[in-house]
Symmetry: C2
Subunit: 228 residues, 2 copies
């Protein structure tokens, strides 16, 4: 494939990702994606087979760019965990991820391979990334020794609940209190000395590298309601 064609296919995937995240599957056409991305419908059908194939590739692309990472340059393992959790709350609260979750849910029948991929990300890879941080926190007496699995699950569940429930039920209308969610997620898990550090991290945020994305790049689509 020529460089030009590679680029036009990439554009088609990006255009499709936003289209499917913000509108219903039935309302999006391959013709409009083709036009907006300057990529011929012939190429789109040759590469993705059909609209369902383009949808899967677009959602995979979208969610891959939205998976939060553990940033290892942060000061402590607890700080890394809280930063990861913050990025996760922020990502799941974003209109584009909420749209993608709704879109995938609406196309369950055709999304099987994508779902397997997501399951690996959500339940396998992400927890594998979290576990070294969790184990370090337990070793330093910052998290309670509740078992890596239970700790990872609690962090994943509590950081997902409000963003996903609000996103599923309210579309993009309802804002998520990011600091409040982080506090709810970690308060049951920390030791007394972990609690002191957690409160410092959440109160002083940017100085610790937590909530720093917020200060560097204020999000437009949601805001803290200060309910913490």
């Amino acid at each position: 494939m020529s460089d030009k064609k590679v680029h036009s296919v990439k554009r088609a995937v990006e255009v499709a990702a936003r289209a499917f995240a913000f509108r219903k599957f039935n309302e999006v056409t391959v013709a409009e994606i083709s036009q907006a991305a300057q990529c011929s419908t012939t190429t789109i059908y040759a590469i993705f087979g059909n609209k369902e194939g383009l949808f899967l590739e677009a959602m995979t692309h979208l969610l891959q760019t939205q998976v939060p990472e553990v940033r290892l340059n942060n000061r402590s393992a607890l700080c890394r965990l809280v930063s990861f959790a913050e990025a996760r709350v922020r990502s799941l609260s974003s209109p584009v991820v909420r749209g993608a979750v709704r879109a995938i849910s609406g196309q369950i029948d055709t999304a099987r391979t994508l779902v397997d991929h997501l399951a690996e990300q959500q339940c396998g890879k992400v927890i594998a990334i979290l576990e070294p941080q969790i184990d370090a926190c337990v070793q330093h007496n910052l998290l309670r020794p509740l078992g890596s699995d239970n700790l990872a699950y609690a962090i994943m569940a509590v950081t997902a609940y409000e963003p996903i429930v609000f996103g599923m039920l309210y579309g993009n209308d309802q804002s998520v209190d990011i600091t409040g969610v982080l506090r709810k997620a970690f308060t049951p898990l920390v030791t007394p000395s972990g609690e002191v550090m957690l409160n410092q991290l959440l109160d002083e945020g940017p100085a610790y590298g937590v909530l720093s994305l917020a200060s560097r790049n204020p999000p437009q689509h949601y805001q803290s309601t200060g309910r913490a």
Copy 2:
């Protein structure tokens, strides 16, 4: 309205609830609901206005019948909380509730009033029902004094995560390990003496009135994988 008409309208709502929970909104017609429920389309349109109105009433009906309650006849406040959590995991894992969540999510634009109703149920009424049990558990040194709000949120989040994520991503294919979810939900929240009681409740289940629905009425659509 005659008794006969009241009954036929009620049937229409029940038929519509299952239809919308298991099939796409666009694929369900008022004509088929009318026929299956023996309720004329004239009556349906007169009462609900349009298909969207019938959808809202059907989803409201469905979810109202699925809200878990705190059963006050159980032995202890912790047992009541665990029973509530069990009913919640079971309800959210059921094909009909999973279908309803997907259906509502797919019709966000028309489901505003229903969503407000759900928000009250989820975030207001249910937490108000839970709080007396939570406070009693804290007073009896079974739950840690983490704040009623945080405790209620953690229970709601962790019991919802696996059923909803599995439901959204896998449709009805993936079973939920009910005992495992309950253990993950309560382990971070209990005191040492609460942990002893929790383990008794989960291990001996039916004798304590917890997991008793399972033994009395084995669910057909999902099963414990024994991962606990």
